[in-house]
């Protein structure tokens, strides 16, 4: 078992290798509960910024441009870039870094690629822990780029304080803009590739459809911005909008995020306790042979009164 406290201390002192190893430990789930507690206790309340959107919409290029913009203000920026794992082999190709190589060698920037390892919400199961480690190591903001998201990979919204949904001018018609899912979780919407034909029209349509009054979700329509990540056009504006969103500090949202953290910890703890229990094998056999239902088995493993 690696010494998390020491790695964390070294990471906080600027040791990038220690930080890299710490992220690996968290990703491989070799950190014990005391270590995980220490991690959150060392948190510095960094701004967690989620960047999501369809594959190829320019998320990585936009993150690259945002890093430059935040660096210009002297902020230390970390990025977690998640790409999908193969459901067949568990392998992955992570290519987000290709677009972020401008910042290699800058000690104020830390970029880490993560494979989703079977999780389906657009993040890896341990992304919340690696984000906490980057926060504890003194990076702010911590940017989380999801896997290329379709319509329902919305887990990022329960983790990030500010969620940016990146679309492209070819995103589709007005009906796409009112479907449930990805666009609903946006705090900010960006139409990237703003130099392409139809970009203005796409932005106008999004604004019109999202501002349509009615419905029971009393949430202000998210601002719609336009960027061209490759040239940097509109990126300062996006950065300011991200920073301004944090300044609002919506208390309800903070509670929802806290609940999300507890839910993750609960799942984590309960599963660890059950799987490590000496009764685990018997429970698996009993359920496999239809002698016990899975809920009863879970209750028994967790020591709940039945």
């Amino acid at each position: 078992m690696p010494d998390l406290a020491e790695r964390l201390r070294n990471a906080q002192g600027g040791d990038r290798r220690a930080l890299a190893r710490l992220l690996t430990d968290l990703e491989n789930e070799t950190v014990d509960m005391a270590g995980r507690r220490a991690l959150f206790a060392a948190g510095r309340d960094a701004h967690l910024v989620g960047i999501t959107g369809p594959p190829g919409s320019g998320k990585s290029t936009l993150v690259n441009a945002l890093i430059a913009s935040w660096r210009g203000q002297g902020r230390r920026v970390a990025v977690l870039a998640v790409d999908p794992s193969s459901p067949l082999t568990g392998g992955a190709i992570m290519g987000d870094r290709i677009r972020m190589m401008d910042h290699v060698g800058d000690d104020g920037v830390f970029v880490r690629s993560m494979a989703s390892r079977g999780a389906l919400g657009g993040l890896a199961a341990t992304t919340w822990l690696t984000a906490a480690a980057l926060d504890a190591a003194g990076y702010d903001p911590v940017v989380i780029e999801t896997v290329g998201a379709g319509q329902s990979e919305v887990e990022i919204a329960s983790l990030a304080e500010t969620t940016v949904v990146v679309e492209v001018p070819e995103m589709g018609d007005e009906v796409q803009a009112i479907k449930a899912g990805l666009l609903e979780i946006a705090d900010l919407i960006v139409v990237n590739k703003g130099d392409r034909p139809g970009a203005d029209r796409a932005a106008r349509q999004l604004k019109a459809m999202l501002s349509t009054a009615g419905g029971r979700v009393a949430r202000p329509a998210p601002p719609v911005l336009m960027t061209t990540a490759t040239s940097g056009e509109g990126v300062e504006g996006l950065r300011d909008a991200i920073d301004a969103h944090r300044a609002q500090r919506d208390p309800e949202r903070a509670r929802a995020r806290a609940a999300g953290l507890i839910r993750r910890a609960l799942a984590n703890r309960a599963q660890a306790r059950a799987v490590e229990s000496s009764a685990w094998d018997d429970a698996v056999t009993a359920v496999a042979e239809h002698r016990e239902d899975p809920f009863s088995a879970a209750d028994r493993l967790l020591g709940f009164d039945q």
Binding site: M1, P2, R16, R17, A20, R21, L23, T24, N28, E29, T30, S85, S86, L88, T89, G90, G91, A92, I93, M94, G95, R97, I98, M101, V104, G105, F110, V111, R112, S113, A115, R117, Q271, A272, V275, E276
Partner: protein, 138 residues
């Protein structure tokens, strides 16, 4: 749950150092290693030795794979090994592939390149080599 160290995917950084723009081989290998269950981080073309070493550190990879076809291998590869080791990444396997004359292979190995894969190497051979030689740590 404590993950079994031997079950976790091996992380590989694949990079194209130097100025040649021929990345088909690197991409085919990336795809092949994905299918073999590796987590491959592809950094793309025109990487300086400093960029490769820096990415290897942040990504905490087990293997650095370098594809080079330009003829500059005797300059770039030993420099990458040197920078990677200077960062304290002692247990990271550095391997190369591409068009590298036999006469240079021994020199590269002496400089710390663990293995050099030439034309005709199968993806299976590379995968097997990485599995057998990548670090295994707690």
């Amino acid at each position: 749950m404590t993950a079994d160290a031997s079950a976790r995917p091996i992380r590989v950084l694949l990079a194209k150092p130097g100025l040649d723009g021929h990345d088909r081989g690197a991409k085919v290998l990336a795809r092949g290693l994905r299918d073999e269950g590796f987590e491959v981080i592809y950094t793309g073309l025109r990487q300086t030795p400093e960029m490769v070493a820096d990415a290897a550190e942040q990504e905490d990879v087990d293997v650095v794979g370098l594809s080079i076809l330009s003829g500059a291998h005797m300059t770039l590869l030993p420099r990458i090994v040197e920078l990677v080791r200077a960062k304290g990444l002692d247990d990271v396997l550095v391997a190369a592939g591409g068009i590298i004359p036999d006469a240079d292979v021994a020199k590269l190995k002496a400089a710390g390149v663990a293995e050099v894969f030439g034309p005709g190497t199968t993806i299976g051979q590379v995968a097997t080599y990485f599995r057998e030689h990548a670090r295994r740590r707690a």
